[in-house]
């Protein structure tokens, strides 16, 4: 499926050496931030490829973003239905394969990744029971994953957060293991917006290729359209990290 940007043409890629890298963006029924994820890929210099949940083959992509939204209306449980999409089984296989396909799940995408058991734990309703949209400070706890190498370890970044079911939970043993193995990728700083255990905003798998988080880095990639401080582009590093990894070598 080829999908045009919402409105207007795609801006020209910033760094032409990266645009050979193709990043798939999956659309499920009810996905909302797919165009935004594709825009972030483009602004980071890569080529975005639209993927459809019902596709039975994973197109020739170098990485995959599972974007935010309310796939299947969050009915039953956020991500619970999408997890069974034909394309998801391909993504699960590719992520677990020796090739270790880089996969980023944002918000609903993170929920789909936990439902798929690519990442441990789960998300429940925010502790205050309301949808919350705010600019949120995160600390990058692990800068060695496929999606975080362009950040400094311990770097604090500002990205939008917007969800209703964002409270990360897991049993104590899992949480201890995540901490011990350095798999807590992002932590909320200053304010825990949803009651997540140990202020966890995002995690990675052991191999570092699969990362999920509730906040939305794809909404902090363009000055004037993201958070008002820090230039509003702190999220771009997710996408440049994976593109640089794909193309090979540091910038």
């Amino acid at each position: 499926m080829t999908e045009l940007p919402l409105i207007g043409d795609a801006p020209v890629a910033a760094e032409s050496r990266l645009n050979g890298a193709k990043i798939g963006v999956v659309t499920f029924p009810g996905t909302l931030d797919d165009r935004d994820a594709a825009r972030a890929v483009r602004l980071a210099g890569g080529t975005a490829v639209a993927l459809w949940h019902a596709d039975t083959e994973l197109a020739d992509v170098d990485a995959v973003v599972i974007p935010g939204g309310f796939s299947y209306g969050d009915y039953l449980r956020a991500g619970a239905i999408s997890r069974f999409a034909p394309l998801m089984s391909k993504i699960i296989d590719a992520a677990n394969s020796d090739a270790k396909l880089p996969v980023l799940g944002i918000c609903n995408g993170f929920q789909i990744l936990t439902e798929s058991h690519l990442l441990p734990g789960s998300m429940i309703k925010n502790d205050h029971l309301k949808f919350l949209c705010r600019d949120q400070v995160l600390r990058v706890e692990n800068n060695t994953t496929a999606w975080t190498t362009d950040y400094e370890a311990g770097q604090e970044i500002l990205v939008p957060l917007k969800n209703q079911d964002g409270q990360y939970i897991a049993d104590e043993k899992t949480l201890d293991a995540l901490e011990a193995e350095g798999r807590v990728a992002f932590r909320y700083v200053g304010f825990n917006p949803n009651g997540s255990r140990r202020d966890i905003a995002g995690i990675t798998n052991a191999a570092g290729n699969v990362v999920g988080l509730m906040p939305h880095p794809e909404h902090a990639v363009e000055p004037g359209f993201g958070p008002e401080s820090n230039a509003g582009t702190d999220g771009l590093g997710f996408f440049t990290s994976v593109l640089n990894k794909i193309v090979g070598g540091a910038k």
């Binding site: 207007g8 043409d9 801006p11 935004d36 935010g68 209306g73 949808f131 909404h219």
Partner: protein, 769 residues
């Protein structure tokens, strides 16, 4: 199976109706008056069938037919110059008006009410309000890109307000957030007049290429009629006719089941599915199903087309198989669309439906008979001229007269009233007054509400609350975008409906210009009491006259809107509340002007002049007074001010701009300071001398056509020259002071930003948790 279904009812066929002229029909229960029922019999030449009665009753309801307001609404179409028509691609009458943005882009927007359902069931009422207005936008061929919600509830401390507040805000968020539409602004007003009748209005805006504009008509004999989206259920039956067209009355049985239930996921899929249909040019005409459901869609499509339509009602996919034909025709189940498709496109249409897993049913086809024929198992149950249902409903010239109490109300000015006793004047009193004002329910920070809405989704939100207007980028390459603001002041309009309606337009116009956008078009949602009350009817007539005159003078045409009547509790109507939405255009959204100060040392200018205008003000409300005359309207000044703000934005002469409206200069200064947490030093002596007012009046008067701007030092000369050349009053009243962390106004005790913030932001959480 259908035969079995058939047996469940005594199907009242057209033939049966002709043979049984004396059968009693429940027309009164369906909201029709005797003269209206007689008219239906006259039009048909026989008694209507049950199904026909259902159709006429909903389509001839106040909500659908505009029967009390039509005669007055004509002015919006009449008071339009050629210049105003220049950019209007589709005017009043379609699902929503369409305005040319240039570069091949078009924008469509509309505001509607969902008041009564939101009182009965706040969550679903508000949610389906969003759903309905978004479908209007899709019907035009556009991709919806943002929503806004003007809200008016009862007093903040009334026990029932929290119920409405929690439900409506969660409903707007729950539905809008799930559609992927950023919520970029709106209003929140608390006033006792809305206690038993809150106003929940919803605005949606969409964009499209010119060639994608779609209209609601069924043309071309043999073309197929299809209903798609959600299944038809028992929710919302008679919602339009019964709920929206009568006042709440405790003595009648509960009408609760009449509120529709929303499924935002189905709507999101419907949006994407429709856009794919448009992209493939697979539909000839399309219409959303809103009030009056299939009755409205079939009769309007057929009436706007060039022929007739034949529909088999048992083909409709049902959620509830026990529904009668009349109920199916009246059901207001959400997330449904009706389209007309050529036989060649049927297969491609079905492929799109299958891709998005959307259910559909082919109901019939377009004919050239000029009749809308609806059958049930082949038996004719409706045979009407669709125009008589959709367009030729009753029109009333309701009697109206200036209320007997209006003169006394206008004579009761605030200045010198009992409530004005002890007016603040000492520096500490003035500081306390400013703090009290910005903490008041209407002037306080509204982020308790707005943080429950997704402002980011879509990635094109260039500005949102709390700035004066919401700004959305349309073209990512050029930065072309639109700005939107909605405003109304029920207190002003109560004092003087003609001028009050103009003030609503003036404020929305000013807000759009403040953002740097050029105002282009207007959509209005006229919320009033019962048109059968001559006082209310006068308020409505005067408001429409005032608004249409002002649109002409400002050169912005009304492209669509909605009238909501019978907003009252018992015999007590709400304040007349014409909510006006103005849409503007920004050539590059990067040039938008936010409302807060940032850079230390920038000069703060006040544009416009200040008179002693406290009647109807927020200060007067705080003191429990409502009387006198609203601020003077000066549309020529509004236009001039708008031009200055637009030029200043385009040429980079100002870094911030904030309009002065409710709460006057005091509110604007505090909001500009708190926006980014940057203070200022203000001196108003020169203003007091020039305008002949005291410091209290300078701070709290709500004189119109005013704004404050912050100007970089390098631009000051150029900016002053521009204002001087245009002969517009401008005065340097202060300087941005980043170090002070306070708002310092000469003659007013210094106010720390921390204390102001605590007061401003504490109010809603205090009442709503």
């Amino acid at each position: 199976m259908t035969t079995e279904t058939n047996k469940k009812f005594n199907i009242d066929t057209v033939e049966n109706a002709a043979n049984t002229p004396d059968t009693e029909l429940p027309w009164a229960e369906l909201g029709l008056k005797q003269n209206e029922f007689d008219e239906i019999v006259k039009v048909l030449g026989r008694r209507p069938t049950g199904a026909e009665l259902a159709m006429y009753s909903v389509m001839w309801s106040e909500h659908c037919s505009y029967k009390s307001s039509k005669n007055h609404l004509r002015q919006f179409g009449q008071k339009v110059t050629e210049e105003m028509k220049k950019d209007m691609l589709v005017g009043i009458g379609e699902n929503a008006g369409v305005t040319n943005l240039g570069d091949g882009w078009a924008v469509t927007f509309k505001i509607e009410s969902h008041n009564s359902p939101s009182f009965v069931e706040p969550y679903q009422g508000a949610a389906t309000g969003i759903g309905g207005i978004v479908r209007d936008i899709i019907s035009m061929g556009a991709r919806p890109v943002a929503v806004m919600d003007p809200l008016r509830f009862g007093e903040i401390d009334h026990p029932d307000t929290a119920r409405v507040m929690h439900g409506a805000v969660a409903g707007i968020g729950g539905y809008g957030n799930s559609l992927g539409l950023p919520n970029i602004g709106g209003e929140m007003v608390f006033d006792a007049v809305y206690q038993g009748n809150p106003l929940v209005n919803a605005l949606a805006v969409g964009v499209m290429r010119h060639e994608d504009i779609r209209l609601a008509n069924a043309s071309g004999k043999g073309n197929k009629v299809v209903l798609f989206g959600a299944r038809t259920g028992g929710d919302g039956i008679g919602g339009a006719s019964v709920l929206a067209s009568e006042s709440f009355d405790d003595t009648k049985p509960s009408k609760r089941p009449a509120v529709q239930v929303g499924d935002p996921f189905a709507e999101k899929v419907l949006i994407e599915c429709c856009l794919e249909l448009f992209k493939g040019s697979l539909v000839e005409g399309i219409q959303d199903l809103g009030a009056a459901g299939i009755s409205c869609a079939t009769s309007e499509l057929a009436s706007n087309g060039d022929g007739g339509m034949q529909v088999e009602l048992t083909s409709v996919l049902l959620r509830d198989p026990t529904l009668t034909p009349g109920e199916i025709l009246m059901s207001e189940s959400q997330e449904r669309m009706m389209a007309v498709v050529t036989p060649e496109n049927v297969e491609a249409f079905e492929a799109v439906m299958d891709k998005w897993a959307v259910e559909y049913a082919w109901l019939g086809e377009v004919t050239d008979t000029g009749r809308l024929i609806i059958t049930w198992e082949g038996e004719v149950i409706v045979d009407v001229d669709p125009r008589t249902v959709a367009h030729d409903g009753p029109v009333y010239d309701r009697p109206y007269a200036r209320p007997s109490w209006q003169d006394a109300l206008q004579a009761d000015t605030f200045t010198g009233s009992v409530q004005d006793a002890g007016r603040p004047s000492a520096p500490s009193e003035l500081a306390a007054a400013v703090t009290e004002l910005v903490a008041s329910p209407n002037m306080c920070d509204k982020s308790w509400i707005t943080k429950q809405y997704d402002r980011y989704v879509g990635g094109n939100t260039a500005m949102a609350f709390p700035d004066d207007a919401g700004v959305v980028r349309v073209d990512e390459e050029t930065g072309l975008g639109v700005a939107l603001a909605t405003d109304a002041n029920g207190r002003y309009t109560y004092l003087d409906p003609y001028n009050g309606a103009q003030l609503a337009l003036a404020e929305a116009y000013r807000n759009v210009a403040t953002s740097g956008a050029v105002p282009m078009a207007v959509s209005d949602c006229l919320n009033f009491g019962s048109p059968e009350d001559p006082d209310v009817m006068w308020q409505l007539a005067e408001s429409i006259r005032g608004l249409s005159d002002a649109c002409m003078e400002l050169g912005v045409p009304v492209t669509g809107g909605n009238v909501s009547l019978y907003n009252q509790t018992g015999t007590t109507p709400i304040h007349p509340s014409p909510v006006v939405a103005v849409l503007g255009k920004l050539d590059d959204v990067a040039r938008r002007t936010p409302s807060g100060w940032k850079e230390d040392g920038q000069a703060i200018y006040l544009l416009g002049t200040t008179a002693a205008e406290l009647d109807g003000s927020e200060w007067a409300k705080l003191r429990g007074h409502l009387g006198g005359l609203p601020p003077r309207v000066d549309l020529a000044a509004e236009r001039q001010l708008g031009e200055i703000l637009i030029n200043a934005s385009r040429d980079g002469m100002v870094d911030s701009a904030h309009d002065l409206s409710e709460g006057g200069l005091a509110a604007a200064l505090v909001e500009s300071a708190l926006r980014y947490g940057v203070g200022a030093r203000i001196a108003l002596e020169e203003l007091l001398e020039r305008d002949g007012v005291d410091l209290f009046t300078a701070l709290f008067s709500e004189s119109q056509a005013r704004a404050i701007v912050s100007v970089p030092r390098s631009e000051e000369v150029r900016f002053k020259d521009m204002c001087t050349a245009r002969g517009f009053a401008h005065l340097r009243i202060g300087v941005v002071d980043a170090a002070s962390n306070a708002l310092e106004i000469n003659g007013v005790e210094a106010m720390s930003l921390d204390a102001l913030r605590e007061a401003h932001e504490g109010t809603l959480p205090k009442y709503f948790g």
